[in-house]
């Protein structure tokens, strides 16, 4: 894929814990094209945030490459990395804990401008702050307010304004709406779609909510226990999920029209521990279709059709089974 803005290759991040090595992400590959939104879904603890953070080097990756316009981000010197941060930004999940409670709105939004010495003069900086606030729909009168005085939706707008103040090209959205009420959630989702259109942004949209991801994404990657199990355009995943985990995930989502659901798969058991995982397919313990090979050999993510990737030894066999 030549037009990729960001390419992640074999990215791994392991944490040392008392019980052993925790494989938070274990060899993740994907590419994001310029101007698109890649959705990253998966259940709690599967490594979504770690992926987002490793890309931005908020966690140093244990191994692997992150190519941004062909340049390996993981090898940049601190000074070059600092410059790179202006182009790659992040919006955090929790608008309550991701804003320093002691700073007023103006300072919060100006912070990235200041650290990056974007403007030499204060008036220009103030102008930029005002412009970004308008962009994300924050009333100008809130400029001296403190985060605790605002509701979740406005706080999340501050988080977005901060990220956008330095005019990035790529933004990691780490569950930007999960902490918000449905109505506010809809407001923020619409805002982000609008900003993408206006500013030509590229998003990595992380969420555990498949409905939200489907709504915003061009392509979707499904993650399970540190690995991507399926990646394709947003329609195919919903019409014809290939990986058994994706199928289960889809059928587990409560929908307002349950009668339209084809079948309801209820997975047995829990997500296994990411500490020193056993070899083989990570999902095989809960998989309805598992065979011997699954426990022995780790399936790799491979292309199985135009732009469709799946990590399953027997995905095509599954298709047949269903066809019958």
């Amino acid at each position: 894929m030549s037009e990729a803005l960001l390419e992640v290759k074999g990215l791994k991040k392991h944490f040392e814990t008392k019980k052993g090595m925790l494989h938070a992400i274990d060899g993740v590959d994907f590419a994001i094209r310029e101007g698109e939104t890649l959705g990253l879904v998966g259940e709690s603890g599967c490594g979504k945030s770690t992926t987002g953070r490793a890309i931005l080097r908020l966690h140093e990756p244990s191994s692997g490459q992150v190519l941004y316009r062909g340049e390996d981000v993981t090898r940049l010197s601190p000074a070059r990395m600092k410059a790179m941060r202006r182009r790659m930004q992040i919006v955090f999940q929790d608008p309550y804990s991701s804003l320093n409670p002691r700073l007023p709105v103006a300072e919060l939004i100006a912070e990235p401008l200041r650290v990056n010495r974007v403007y030499a003069r204060k008036p220009e900086e103030a102008e930029r702050v005002a412009a970004v606030m308008e962009l994300v729909g924050l009333e100008a009168r809130l400029i001296d307010s403190y985060p605790h005085e605002l509701d979740g939706g406005r706080r999340q707008r501050i988080g977005i304004a901060r990220a956008l103040s330095v005019e990035p090209e790529f933004v990691v959205l780490d569950e930007p709406v999960s902490a918000l009420d449905v109505c506010i959630q809809a407001q923020i989702l619409n805002l982000m779609a609008e900003l993408q259109r206006k500013l030509g942004l590229t998003y990595l949209f992380i969420s555990h909510n498949l409905s939200v991801v489907k709504h915003v994404s061009d392509r979707i990657a499904v993650m399970y226990l540190g690995k991507i199990v399926e990646l394709s355009d947003y329609k195919s995943i919903f019409v014809e999920p290939l990986h058994p985990y994706t199928q289960a995930l889809l059928s587990a989502i409560p929908t307002t029209r349950p009668e339209r659901r084809k079948e309801r798969i209820i997975l047995e058991g829990d997500v296994p521990s990411p500490i020193e995982p056993s070899p083989g397919c990570r999902f095989c313990g809960r998989c309805r279709y598992r065979r011997e090979r699954c426990a022995a050999e780790t399936p790799e993510l491979r292309e199985v059709g135009a732009g469709r990737f799946v990590a399953c030894h027997y995905y095509d066999a599954l298709g047949e089974k269903k066809g019958n």
Binding site: S251, P254, T255, D270, V271
Partner: protein, 328 residues
Amino acid sequence: MSETTMLLDIRGLTVRYGTQGGEVRAVEGLDLSLARGETLGFVGETGAGKTTTALAVMRLVPEPAGRICGGEVIFEGEDLLKKSPRDMRSIRGSKISMIFQDPMTSLDPVKTVGEQIAEMIGLHESVSRREALAKAQAMLETVGIRAERSGDYPHQFSGGMKQRVVIAIALACNPALVIADEPTTALDVTIQAQVLDLMRKLKDRYRTSMILITHDLGVVAETCDKAAIMYAGNIVEYADKASLFARPSHPYTQGLFGSVPDIESDAESLNVISGLTPDPTDLPPGCPFHPRCPRAEGACSTQAPPKVEIEEGHFVRCFLHGSGGRAR
């Protein structure tokens, strides 16, 4: 309504909290009824007063900040608000029990799960400790946890299993009514599916009535018989699930449906309800939704809208559906 006598009938319930910023009108004249064996989905935004309503039914509204100012909560023909604290204690857990949102904090970390279930049984039934423990193990099996794990501590379980234990505790004395306050919000989707499935099965098996508080219309669609939509301390729409989903009639309900990205739909942009939930210390006069309502008109800002039955068992609190009013 119908010939079945109601298990729970709430009439004009009003609950207020005294705070520094003023009096919070958390629940204002709420009416709600629930028949035996029925499951009611209770939906609304943060701060709508869902938890407060549930706490009021349990008579657990935190004193002295919170006060039940009026109304009746008729349960099995008797007004719970008139019961003595002592009678209430024996009702809680045995006839009405509650499941809280966060399974991590509603279990005691230093007692084994078996003991915790047995404790609930011992409190309401005259059984020996040994019998209680045996019953606790049976209960664990019912919720799909092997009995030999009854000696384990909560931290040894995963989130979904802990919530199963909480459910086991709630169902231990076979209550007539279970109030579940967002029982699956803290869980992952696949685990949520497991837990909801379990709750559905248990409810059918024991014919327990249930009030299921949730943010998620999908959960209502999949588990409930009836649904009540709550906004700023009152129920704005109450109907059969089928009727509600086929014909959401209050502008707020419609907005809520429009705001949720649904996996089954392909809408480009979401229909947003503009504005914020009102400040509960300073509710707008008239219909509390009118400042955000796209179809508000004169009367909305001055008079409280009446409760209208637009079809059998489908109630809406809105002028749009007034007597002879323009249905949409």
